[in-house]
């Protein structure tokens, strides 16, 4: 085998960059690179350096370009990095773009069977004998392409100084200890390392050095967390219809619930999951279940959310507790189904016809997905209304470092449910929609209650306090106004915003959800340039008084979001009709997670204007 001569460019002599760089691995969809990428990610993480991994993938199963972006950041930055320091180019189709995208001085690893001309002088080139090395491992024919990806893992390990045992560890974890695949993959890594040791003259300007910054953290994605939170929230019933990027949330429930939710005595399942025929049915089932006293959940994304609109209006009006997870992707319409966005804020908040309005929880970190998973179920039953949890593809499907999931601090709250013995105690007629406590939340019974007074008739049409059919103007108005009061009364019960104040800040930033990482990073950079900003991360709608105070307290507040029309900005504007300060909408959508660079840039432009 000819010794490859890495044609090193100018960049080769630059001083080492340690634990702060980004890797872009360009592959072909369906070629099995996911194992390789996760192995890399996990190994670096196990070495104690904060990492995050983002999969930029097509709406397709096999054959189209995919990028996996690993950000290594001792500063803990987890947002999408605009700049790429290391590229692994495995896809001939995007080779030229990938090369162009690499920052000067960067490291360019590429499969040596790709016959594209290379016209950059300012990067370090490293051709990889992918096919040869893969063949050497003598894998079964159908696995050859898959394990070929381990070649770049090995070479990167060599170049960046990633420890072999952590790689082994990561493979062990990935294959759940199955030695066959672990050995096969690891042998390719080892061979690649050996090859690199023997053949590579290249010195990487980027290095990993062990740290202890990941102690006390876990590595997870939001959908798994949301599914687990739902399980720990005592969910009884899930109905769902597959849709990217929501699918992996119910699938996490399918994975974990069987182990976690068997009655220890009877060995029976304390829940049921049903894959419905579509979203009209999945939300319908969940509403039926919520009505019948089950803690019920569904998860969907834009198109499915649209289909749930009519039923959402019914649930609001009939006061049925349900939880709906909305994992946003790029719309309108089918849009870019595998790309992230925050474009369904408005729709979620107002989902349904008539004067419908919903409580929306907005997790911004993976462990919040866990927390809101159980909390949403409590709130739904407490408030007797649908609770929406608004996440997105970036938070839901990508791997984030996060603090461990915290066991719920409060016991399960079933709200105001009356059973036989409760009804026994009630002298008067019980009325489903009577506001006895003055909190606009009535008492409810559920089917299965065998008390002769228990039954009532639920309907989407007008009713009086006793759930009798009514078209009387005053019944309609009173009921609808009570619903409004109930909605208003939710404000103090919802997750409070997270506020990060900076000494010397005058203006503020408001953001929510997955953009948190980018905003924090941008804040640091802005502060470094003298622009100090207080930062409020919204965690629920409707907003509470802290949010209003934050806005009032700042002469100017930037509302950052990943959509076109500045939807959250609109919602906030409406909360403060007499708003004296300037609420500035900074929004942007192109399918990629917002970058700190973009935020910094647009805020700076505003600050200067």
């Amino acid at each position: 085998m000819a010794k490859p001569k890495p044609e090193s460019g100018e960049g080769s002599k630059t001083k080492k960059v340690v634990n702060e760089f980004s890797i872009n691995i360009a592959t072909v969809n369906g070629s099995g690179s996911q194992t390789a990428n996760l192995t890399l990610l996990r190994a670096i993480y196990k070495m104690g350096i904060p990492v995050s991994g983002k999969n930029i993938f097509p709406s397709n199963i096999q054959g189209l370009p995919t990028w996996y972006k690993i950000r290594v950041s001792k500063s803990g930055y987890a947002a999408r990095a605009k700049k790429t320091d290391i590229t692994v180019a495995m896809n001939p189709k995007t080779f030229r773009d990938d090369l162009e995208d690499l920052a000067p001085g960067g490291l360019f690893l590429y499969a040596d069977h790709i016959k594209e001309s290379i016209d950059r002088e300012d990067v370090l080139l490293c051709p990889l004998p992918v096919k040869n090395l893969a063949r050497e491992a003598k894998p079964p024919r159908e696995l050859r392409d898959y394990i070929a990806n381990m070649v770049y893992v090995g070479v990167l390990a060599y170049l960046l100084d990633i420890q072999m045992d952590t790689l082994k560890n990561a493979l062990d974890f990935h294959f759940k200890g199955k030695q066959g695949p672990v050995e096969l993959n690891f042998s390719v890594i080892q061979n690649a390392v050996k090859w690199a040791e023997a053949e590579l003259e290249l010195e990487s300007p980027f290095k990993i050095q062990p740290l202890d910054l990941t102690d006390g953290f876990i590595l997870a994605n939001g959908n798994t967390a949301g599914g687990l939170g739902t399980i720990y929230g005592g969910m009884h019933f899930v109905s769902w219809y597959p849709i990217t990027p929501a699918t992996s949330l119910p699938e996490a429930i399918l994975e974990y619930a069987p182990g976690l939710r068997k009655d220890p005595e009877t060995k029976k399942s304390t829940y049921a999951v049903i894959q419905a025929e579509d979203e009209l049915a999945s939300i319908g089932m969940v509403i039926g279940a919520g009505w019948a006293g089950l803690r019920a959940m569904t998860a969907t994304s834009g198109p499915g959310l649209s289909l749930m609109s009519e039923y959402a209006s019914l649930a609001y009006f009939t006061e049925i507790p349900i939880v709906v997870w909305v994992i946003q992707r790029v719309g309108p319409s089918t849009g870019l189904p595998t790309r992230t966005a925050q474009g369904d804020v408005n729709m979620t908040y107002y989902l349904g016809h008539g004067d419908t309005k919903h409580v929306v929880l907005i997790p911004g970190t993976v462990n919040e997905c866990f927390e809101f998973g159980w909390k949403a179920l409590d709130l739904a039953e407490k408030l007797q209304m649908p609770i929406f949890v608004l996440s997105d593809l970036d938070l839901g499907q990508n791997q984030w470092m996060t603090t461990p999931f915290e066991y719920p601090k409060t016991p399960i709250d079933r709200g105001k449910i009356l059973w036989e013995e409760d009804l026994e105690k009630i002298k008067d007629d019980w009325g489903r929609y009577l506001d006895l406590d003055g909190d606009a939340i009535p008492y409810r019974t559920v089917p299965g209650n065998r008390h002769p007074k228990s039954a009532y008739f639920a309907r989407g049409t007008g009713h009086d306090d006793y759930a009798n059919y009514s078209e009387k103007p005053e019944d309609w108005e009173e009921n609808l106004n009570r619903l409004k009061r109930k909605f208003e009364s939710s404000r103090p019960l919802l997750p409070e915003p997270e506020i990060s104040a900076q000494a010397g800040a005058t203006n503020g930033i408001i953001a929510f959800g997955s953009t948190d990482a980018a905003v924090r990073e941008a804040s640091d950079h802005l502060a470094a340039e003298g622009v100090k900003l207080d930062y409020l991360r919204l965690r629920a709608l409707p907003v509470n008084s802290q949010v209003l105070k934050f806005i009032r307290d700042h002469p100017r507040v930037y509302v950052i979001e990943n959509n076109r029309d500045g939807q959250m900005h609109s919602i906030l504007s409406l909360e403060l009709p007499d708003f004296p300060s300037e609420l500035v909408s900074l929004s942007h959508i192109d399918g990629l997670p917002l970058s700190a660079e973009w935020i910094k840039e647009v805020v700076l432009a505003e600050e200067k204007s």
């Binding site: 929230g233 461990p404 066991y407």
Partner: protein, 343 residues
């Protein structure tokens, strides 16, 4: 007035206990007859009203649950989406008896998708379609079951071939499929009883005339047409539990079908020699009846052995909605383990 003079059933309830709000349907509407037979059947079956859950879609037919069994929970949901609501609700407590009422528009037009899927899942539910070939509540448009060529005021003539709900139910693998007629209360009641005891979905397509918008004598869904074209497949009777599941044919006279809970349905043969346990034969019989221009009524298909939706889940004895909070939340230790593997 002496209390004891009012007739009671075996659980000490009077027929009054099975009633609902006064009907607000039109005088003579077929749906009222259905309401009456549901009341009679549940009374005679000694069902505690609290054990019943009523679910419906939207339409005159879907209002019916308001008019029976006030002491049962009820949910008048969305147009065409009763099956999903029923599915979720019945998971709450699988010992409940679900009675769904829908219309031909509600089931065969907008509701076709959910209808087909609930039949294939075999949800234990008595699913009554009050079929009048028309949209009553929106004042007389064609539903999907309206016959081709039917003329209605304002709508002109119906262009399309009708949906046959019985065909669809059988093709869709419903495990109990019957057709009845509002003008034949005895048969309807017997079928309702059988349907309630069937473990699985029991679809009864009841021709139920809309006297206001579709009752021309020559229209397929009218009283007159039904009265003069009805051919009952058998005389149906209903026998409480005696022995285990089986289906067999007793030569000559009658056929006995045993349901899951040991209940028997006895089908006494009339003109037709028909055994309702074969899907293909059911289609054949229906096609022939169609050719003869007959409204065939009775139990058209039954498979008492098909597993119900709940048989396919591994649910505890205690209804899900009564599980204590402790059963619902896994231990802190289990979460610690999960955190271990989140990597």
């Amino acid at each position: 007035m002496a209390k004891k003079t009012v007739k009671q059933n075996e659980i000490g309830l009077t027929k009054e206990d099975y009633k609902g709000e006064p009907t607000t349907l039109c005088l003579g509407c077929g749906h009222n007859a259905i309401v009456g037979q549901i009341i009679a059947a549940c009374y005679e079956l000694n069902i505690p009203p609290e054990s019943v859950v009523k679910i419906s879609g939207i339409g005159c037919s879907s209002k019916a649950p308001t008019y029976f069994m006030d002491r049962s929970f009820g949910f008048n949901g969305l147009h065409g989406r009763m099956p999903s609501l029923a599915t979720g609700a019945l998971f709450g407590d699988t010992s409940l008896i679900g009675i769904g009422v829908s219309g031909d528009g509600d089931t065969a037009s907008i509701g076709m998708g959910q209808f087909k899927h609930v039949t294939r899942r075999n949800l234990p539910l008595l699913y009554i379609v009050a079929n009048n070939g028309v949209y009553g509540l929106t004042k007389g448009q064609f539903s999907a079951t309206a016959e081709q060529g039917l003329a209605l005021k304002k709508q002109g003539q119906n262009r399309y071939v009708p949906v046959d709900i019985v065909w669809e139910a059988i093709a869709g693998r419903a495990s109990f499929v019957a057709r009845s007629f509002s003008g034949d209360p005895q048969q309807l009641k017997a079928l309702i009883k059988a349907g309630i005891h069937h473990r699985g979905i029991a679809v009864i397509d009841v021709i139920s005339p809309c006297v206001t918008f579709n009752n021309q004598d020559d229209s397929f869904h009218s009283y007159a047409w039904g009265k003069s074209h009805e051919v009952a497949l058998h005389e149906l009777s209903f026998v409480p539990p005696v022995r285990a599941i089986k289906v067999h044919y007793e030569k000559g006279e009658s056929l006995e079908v045993s349901l899951y809970d040991g209940t028997h349905i006895i089908l006494k043969k009339l003109e037709h020699d028909y055994e309702p346990t074969d899907r293909v034969k059911a289609f054949q019989m229906l096609e022939e009846a169609n050719d003869r221009n007959e409204l065939v009524t009775g139990l058209i298909y039954i498979n008492p052995k098909q597993k119900s939706l709940f048989d396919l889940y591994d649910l505890p004895e205690t209804p899900l909605n009564r599980l204590s909070n402790e059963k619902l939340r896994p231990s802190p230790e289990s979460l610690a383990e999960i955190n271990q593997v989140m990597f």
